[in-house]
């Protein structure tokens, strides 16, 4: 067995409180005194609340988690042996966490939470577009967090999720936003077309020719003209998030093509 130091500091109880607690536990567990039980619940509810926040720190809804944590607290209050003189907290933490872990496992949390995260990602994406339209530039994470009343970490996770999701899954409910090539052709001015033709002749090689015209235009605007994604979005008539995703897609494509040019189809 590996030696486990006992960090006594955390498990120490203050004597006055300990005596009082023992009394409350005795009245509840021996005499079934409801008032004592309620006093204990009031006293330890912050613990349940704190554990619910820590364990599911980015999942929602918090109220559900808190309910599960509270159930764990009630179990711990019933089963704690106050006579042994240990701290209730040290006993209750694994009991409450155990309850939450079981709940996560049984409720299909692993399936449920990504769905919640996806909804949040959609919300973040919407807010990002609204703010970009209102202010003419994309917001910072802090601005989004303020706007949506979410915490910074939730926004960062949502931005990662937006990047990770398949184009189809996030774009499906937005008809017309990510148009096909015909729609793109309409929004593309003749000036741009001419520009692109010149560029095709001058610099574009066989590899980049494998990227569809709109993506090629976006690549050019980003990397040769150094426009921001928001500026490109306005120019091409799609959202900044779509610019971001198309950049990703075409760079990935270029990467595979560059790696194995012979296999380019």
């Amino acid at each position: 067995m590996p030696a486990q130091a006992s960090p006594a500091a955390t498990l120490r109880t203050v004597p006055g409180i300990a005596a009082d607690q023992r009394r409350l536990f005795a009245r509840w567990q021996r005499d079934g005194d409801q008032a004592s039980r309620e006093a204990l619940v009031r006293r330890f509810m912050p613990l349940a609340r704190s554990l619910a926040r820590r364990y599911g720190h980015s999942s929602e809804p918090f109220e559900d988690l808190l309910q599960v944590a509270s159930l764990g607290l009630l179990n711990a209050l019933d089963r704690f042996d106050a006579e042994q003189g240990h701290s209730f907290q040290a006993f209750a933490v694994p009991t409450i966490l155990g309850e939450m872990r079981r709940y996560f496992r049984d409720s299909g949390w692993a399936v449920h939470v990504p769905r919640g995260a996806q909804e949040r990602a959609l919300k973040v994406r919407g807010a990002q577009e609204r703010i970009a339209n209102e202010r003419g530039h994309t917001p910072t994470v802090n601005q989004l967090a303020e706007y949506l009343e979410l915490d910074i970490e939730q926004i960062i996770d949502a931005l990662q999720a937006i990047q990770a999701y398949d184009t189809v899954s996030l774009d499906a409910p937005r008809p017309g936003a990510d148009g096909d090539l015909t729609a793109y052709g309409e929004s593309l001015g003749s000036d741009d077309e001419r520009y692109e033709l010149v560029e095709l002749n001058a610099t574009v090689t066989a590899v980049i020719g494998h990227v569809p015209p709109r993506e090629r235009l976006i690549l050019r605007l980003r990397f040769l003209e150094d426009l921001t994604q928001t500026e490109i979005a306005r120019r091409v008539g799609i959202s900044q998030m779509q610019v971001s995703r198309l950049l990703r897609r075409s760079l990935e494509r270029l990467r595979t093509l560059t790696r194995a040019p012979g296999e380019a189809q």
Binding site: T10, F44, R54, V113, V141, Q160, Q163, V204
Partner: protein, 291 residues
Amino acid sequence: MVVRDPVARTEMAEIPNVRLNLSNRPENVLLVRQALTGLAESIGLDPLELNDISTAVSEACNNVVLHAYRGKEGPLEVEVCAHPVGLCVTVRDHGCGIGSRAEAADGDGGGIGLPVIRALAHNVEFRERAGDGTEVRIEFATTNAGVLERPQDEQGSQPVTIAQEELADTVAITVAPASLARTVVARVLSALAARAQFSTDRISDMQRLTDALVDHAEDAISASHLSIAISVAPRSLELRIGPLRPGRAEELVLDSIVDGLGPILERLSDGHHVSPAGDSEMLALRLAQRR
């Protein structure tokens, strides 16, 4: 038959897959979680297990944030080793020993960090290092996680450190194999870009930048690990990437050339320079939030 002494085994320094060197500022705990999430993405960790790991490791880091340096700033080091059946996370500080920490004995609200770690981990060991802080080694059992190749070389075991005066604004991430950077560095970098008040479209550039870097870094590094130190200033980030073989830093930029578009690394950054670092080289990239 040789029976290996379990203590000797743990004394033997295992080269971690992910290492973070940062300050014990409270806002840095988020970076540790982002790195863990990035690692989980790379190895396909179960989300429930990640939640347990992330919660427990956050507690260990919070302990360093609150108690290790008695209100002062100091280094926090986190190392993660991913094994086929488990994940081992070491959280280290160079502050006061854990026994002497005035951890909240104030009744019911505080002091639940260690019980939380114990409840969620498979095994926890505390090691107080004479006069040099505390190390908490937390083992988690995991299922179905992908296997990473074990980092091998000697240089990989040399810890990356950041100077005390850099601590306030710099975070160092070391990954082995280098391909882990794609998820681990990308997440930490995004979080730091958010801190530097970058706009979200510039943050999405960070992912493209990391991709371009990882694509070519494996051929350029002079060890089996890739280290990236990221310094944060308002609307500006500096990345120092190494250790690179002599001559390879400039090449790394050129390697990112896409026909007709130029070097992606150069296009996505706002200037770069190469500096020597011992027998190796470092590539420094500056990123700015324009407007």
